[in-house]
Symmetry: C2
Subunit: 242 residues, 2 copies
């Protein structure tokens, strides 16, 4: 089955080079309305979005995110935050507890809303890229955006008219992801071999023969880098993992 929405999703590519055309405020408003219609746990709506319009702030965030120039240059840059602060401020008799559950619910609320926003933007002919690098130096970003207790930035998102057409990034076969009734590892080895070959060919083509790394090699290299350490800063912000 094909329709406009499905075709849109299947065409998704992260965009890291944008034209300078601004995104009209009414389009951003629609993008946000779509974001808000995503499912949210018990209607808690436990997330906030910081629209970073100040050029100086953008430039600082671009550096903190690991010198990602598109964070500075994209027409729109949003920081998606898990937000239990609003919830805490809306009740008088109860407190939001520092549990893994509440950390998860607010992070997932932000993620579901953001994915609607991404698709709404793409349906308008805009391109997007998620910026996990906003967690590189979590504490500095929290200070820059003046995030209060019980709020933390989950990821950023650049939005604007695409100025590039990257080739589609192949995903694993559905069989690698979808299991029936129980978690199965039966065909893992064969599926991984196939996917490694697919990615190796894709990289070969994309880099005109400069790089042929397969998926396992890319993941090995990724895992060899030091992980972002968020726990302490998250706890300072009032989140917990009980």
């Amino acid at each position: 089955m094909k329709n406009e929405t499905i075709s849109l999703m299947l065409q998704h590519q992260s965009i890291r080079k944008f034209k300078s055309d601004p995104v009209p405020p009414e389009h951003l408003h629609t993008i946000m309305e779509c974001a808000q219609k995503a499912s949210t746990s018990s209607n808690m709506q436990a997330y906030s979005v910081i629209n970073v319009t100040d050029p100086e702030l953008r430039s600082q965030l671009a550096i903190l995110a690991g010198n990602q120039i598109y964070v500075e240059q994209a027409p729109v840059f949003l920081v998606w935050c898990a937000d239990l602060h609003r919830l805490q401020g809306s009740v008088s008799d109860q407190t939001v507890k520092p549990t893994a559950e509440n950390f998860l619910v607010s992070s997932v609320d932000a993620a579901l809303a953001s994915q609607n926003a991404a698709l709404a933007a793409e349906s308008m002919g805009l391109g997007i890229v998620y910026i996990g690098g906003i967690r590189n130096q979590l504490e500095e970003v929290i200070q820059l955006l003046q995030l209060p207790e019980l709020v933390y930035p989950v990821f950023g998102m650049c939005i604007g008219k695409p100025d590039q057409e990257p080739s589609p990034h192949p995903r694993m076969p559905v069989e690698s992801i979808l299991h029936e009734n129980k978690y199965s590892t039966v065909h893992n080895e064969e599926l991984l071999r196939q996917y490694n070959e697919t990615i190796s060919n894709y990289m070969d083509q994309r880099t005109q023969g400069q790089r042929k790394a397969n998926w396992s090699q890319m993941m090995e290299s990724k895992l060899s880098q030091p992980d972002r350490i968020l726990g302490e800063t998250l706890q300072k912000q009032g989140f917990g993992f009980r």
Copy 2:
């Protein structure tokens, strides 16, 4: 700006009553392909989906999720899992570390993919509801679905032809969610007052005058319930929060 995708999102309602018509396997396949095209951190694709087709298993999960009968009755029930196990099995020289970052990345990967799946299903005329109740008794669900180390169920999702037309659930005004350059609480009180009124009217109408709780009251009642405690089970599964 309006288009098919935006209209679809704006119409979203959680569906908790389904017709018995099965979802054809090729439609589920398309739903999964759409899910996989969502952004994923560094192409890690750190999630798996368990399609629960066994009626006995369904009935057990429905009970564990807090006696949600639609978990048993929906034509399709998917359990969306954060999955670092596949990643760990695909590399030879590195280990996935028990950091909050890795817990977050895998949970967000599952969430982004699931939201694409939800919209793909809705674009086919199907309805969905997320099931957070799958975390009520996390350890039992992990055992039932035979989830290995580094895999945990983030939420469930029922999918099928809607057999109800619930009225739209109003969200907060965009101004409550969207901030510019820094987190702002300036208009919070007035926005909350408005939203409480909106929700109170909505509940009044929806329950034919039986219940007029506003949002703050609903959140207070929600927060007064004991939180799900996930931390210990998650750590047993190999996740961590450093």
